[in-house]
């Protein structure tokens, strides 16, 4: 069943690498308006799921629809991105030799034709870049080379490059990895600000405090399948989740 309010609808998805089956007959739904956490043991298939949703990895069987009824099965990565799917990878992928403004400019023009990307920057585009820089807290450092930024700032810049392209679905793979406490809090604030009725956000993270703070619902993946879905509070109490993921010591971890 697929409806317009559905951001991501996955049905019977199978992904394997050689003889190793990573996602097993997975069915999954994410609606617009929600921030969904995806947690699960290392190797459960979390990043592979994002790879399948963005066309980075081809799936053997199953269906994936984004924004209602757009089947992405045979689409290239670029075509899926044009459908409004944006992704942040585990490691920040920014243009280190360009400054913050230039990085945002490239991202803003990424959907445009080659010719249009040579046109002079319009005042409205400049304003969009400035607004995005303000949102990610990097307004005062627009001229700074991205390669010289601290790790947390690089992550924010990449999130900025994502959102400036106005995606309808945002996939974030470990957005707070390597961040200190203050940066984690700032990132939680930033992601919460992105929430809206026309956007769906998926966050893969191992920082449970962060997931609890940011996500409405949590999907627990285990061994390529969904173990349980629910609020963080419900999920934390599930004994299988404790066994395979959180550990008995979870409350003080």
């Amino acid at each position: 069943m697929k409806r317009a309010g559905q951001a991501i609808y996955v049905s019977g998805l199978n992904v394997s690498f050689g003889s190793f089956s990573v996602l097993k007959n997975l069915s999954w739904l994410v609606n617009f308006g929600e921030i969904r956490g995806v947690i699960g043991p290392n190797g459960a298939g979390k990043t592979t799921l994002l790879d399948a949703l963005t066309g980075k990895t081809k799936f053997q069987s199953g269906d994936v629809f984004v924004r209602g009824s757009n089947q992405i099965k045979d689409l290239k990565e670029s075509a899926i991105a044009r459908l409004g799917m944006g992704r942040k990878f585990q490691k920040p992928s920014i243009f280190a030799g360009l400054n913050i403004f230039e990085n945002l400019e490239i991202a803003l023009r990424s959907g445009k034709s080659t010719l249009a990307s040579f046109a002079r920057l319009q005042p409205s585009e400049r304003e969009t870049i400035n607004e995005t820089a303000a949102l990610i807290g990097l307004s005062s450092e627009l001229e700074k080379d991205a390669g010289t930024l601290a790790h947390g700032q690089k992550q924010w810049l990449e999130i900025g490059m994502l959102i400036i392209a106005k995606p309808a679905v945002i996939l974030l793979d470990e957005p707070v990895a390597g961040m200190n406490a203050e940066e984690r809090i700032k990132t939680a604030g930033l992601i919460s600000k992105l929430k809206g009725p026309d956007i769906a956000i998926v966050v893969v993270e191992h920082d449970m405090q962060f997931v609890e703070q940011v996500c409405d619902t949590v999907t627990v993946l285990h061994d390529g399948q969904i173990l349980i879905e629910g609020s963080m509070e419900e999920v934390k109490k599930n004994s299988q989740v404790v066994d395979v993921y959180l550990g008995r010591d979870a409350n003080d971890a």
Binding site: F17, F20, G40, P41, N42, G43, A44, K46, T47, Q90, K91, L149, A150, H151, G152, Q153, E174, A177, G178, M179, N180, A181, E182, E183, H206, M208, V244, Y245, L246, G247, R248, D249, A250, A253
Partner: protein
Amino acid sequence: MTLKVRDLNQFYGSSHCLKNINFDVEQNSCIGVLGLNGAGKTTLAKSLMGINEIKSGSISIDGSEISELAPNQRVDLGLGYVPQGREIFSDLSIDENLRIGESVEDNSNLVISRSDIFQVFPVLKQMLNRRGGDLSGGQQQQLSIARALMTNPKILILDEPTEGIQPSIVTDIRSLIFELKGKFTIILIEQYIEFAKAVCDDYIVLARGEICASGSRESLNSEIESQFLKV
């Protein structure tokens, strides 16, 4: 082994990123290197390993100067390193990655054996012949820690070892470090202050390339945490 760092200075171009760093790590103790992103923690680790050539100063192990040695010579002397960002060999299997660790000169009397490691990280045993590049991020991190331990280090430098690791294995790594303390000298770079506090005996806090606070774990108070670590 005791590690001493004296008046260490490091530059990236014109940027003075480590300024007159002085600290000691006593044999078989664990020191936490704390600080915000960009403070110089990873630069310090790379300087200790010889990946970055230092501008001035001294790094010695049990009184012998090592700052002129190549990274592989430092590994042979007993420095082990788990870099931030895993850096495993993607095209090699788990087994081959571990064997590269085991290829150091003196690997008799391994303090931690392969079977010990497999108890902490069972997935490495289950997937022994899988390509490193086909592992998930967290599994690669486990492999990176295991590979460093296979070099039979006497001083182990861990740069954010829990990054990308599921909570239950973070707990296992904490137990592992606890077990290793007393057998190895450990330098732990960590963003999760609670994790660092749980395992370290002493700490140094870096800010803008300088040591701005140091002492025993008990002396790491909320004032230092809020001023330098933004906890």
